[in-house]
């Protein structure tokens, strides 16, 4: 309930009339200054609201990029094997695998005629050479 709707005495009514009249006498310079101040205030309120939209539109691509990076990281993590790193596995076991898979290599380990392997022969040869150099 505004005071304007309340029961006013004659004195209050007259006072209001005089005060309202005094508002009409406010000069143009003051009115102009007040108008400028009002425009500045309205602009300030609009500017305060605008960055909200600006921030929203800046955040969307950033959030999308971050989500994509997270997705890629998760996919890579799930595809990686458990246990030893792949490089170490290759160093320790892949050599044996090659040896087993290589038919020629097996021939070198065990000769077909049963006279011993190439490696045994090579070891005997190196021992014999060693003995000669010692003497």
């Amino acid at each position: 309930m505004s005071a304007q709707g309340e029961q006013l005495t004659d004195f209050e009514r007259r006072s209001r009339l005089v005060l309202e009249e005094s508002l009409l006498r406010i000069d143009g310079r003051v009115r102009s200054r007040l108008n400028q101040a009002r425009q500045a205030a309205v602009e300030a309120a609009s500017a305060k609201r605008r960055p909200m939209f600006g921030r929203f539109f800046t955040l969307v691509p950033t959030a999308a990029a971050a989500a994509a990076a997270l997705l890629v990281a998760m996919v890579l993590w799930h595809r990686a094997p458990d246990g030893e790193p792949p490089v170490l596995v290759a160093d320790t076991h892949l050599g044996d695998l090659d040896l087993v898979a290589d038919g020629e290599g097996l021939d070198l380990v065990q000769d077909g005629d049963g006279s011993g392997s190439f490696y045994e022969w090579a070891a005997d040869q190196s021992e014999a050479n060693g003995n000669e150099t010692d003497t």
Partner: protein, 208 residues
């Protein structure tokens, strides 16, 4: 209350027919229009209240400008119905700050050996220019009444002056005036009663 009805009207537009971005834009524009309309409705009265308290045109303009900016920055998103008491609360704080500063400045200047002449009390010829008045006799009566009322208001204690202007000129009710003044409704009633009593004594019942 009727002016609040006109302020509230921009928000009652149908929202279903708008897309998200359009809705945001139209809502922002409606809010700006409402704020502009509100400030246009109070600026002259606010200036008058600030001028009565500060007795200085430039200071009064500064106070109103600051109050407008602060309302726009801090409370523009609040419901329009809350703007008026908030605005006058901000204005009152601003006026009080200025009065305190002026008191301190006055004390400092009082110690100085030479004081500059205050030429701010010159009457503005534009302010005295006639407006669309009914008649010269009536205008003269109003001029005299205005002068007498302004003089009587100057002599009132600050709180009584403030409550009288907020209630009589701005038309705030007791609750709104209490918010604007930062005091209880009981204090508002007491200050208002005393203000009316003092003004009646000074001006007489039929001063217009």
């Amino acid at each position: 209350m009727s002016e609040f009805a006109t302020l509230a009207s921009p928000y009652s537009m149908p929202v279903e027919s708008h897309g998200d971005v359009e809705l945001s834009d139209s809502s922002t524009n409606a809010r700006s229009r409402a704020l502009n309309q509100f400030l246009a409705g109070v600026e002259l009265k606010a200036f008058k209240i600030a001028q009565a308290a500060l007795r200085h045109e430039e200071d009064a303009l500064d106070a109103v400008q600051d109050a407008m900016l602060q309302l726009a920055r801090a409370y523009a998103d609040r419901p329009a119905e809350e703007w008026k008491p908030l605005f006058y609360r901000i204005l009152e704080n601003r006026i009080r700050d200025m009065q305190r500063r002026r008191t301190v400045r006055g004390r400092v200047i009082a110690w100085l050996p030479f004081r500059g002449d205050d030429d701010d009390d010159e009457p503005d010829p534009i302010a005295l220019a006639p407006s669309a008045d009914p008649s010269p006799v009536r205008k003269l009566e109003l001029d005299e009444a205005m002068g007498a009322l302004e003089k009587a208001l100057e002599e009132l204690p600050r709180r009584q002056q403030q409550v009288f202007l907020l209630r009589t000129l701005e038309g705030l009710d007791v609750a709104e005036t209490a918010i604007a003044m930062g005091c209880s409704e009981g204090s508002v009633k007491t200050h208002y009663f005393r203000a009316l009593q003092a003004l009646r004594e000074q001006l007489g019942e039929s001063y217009v």
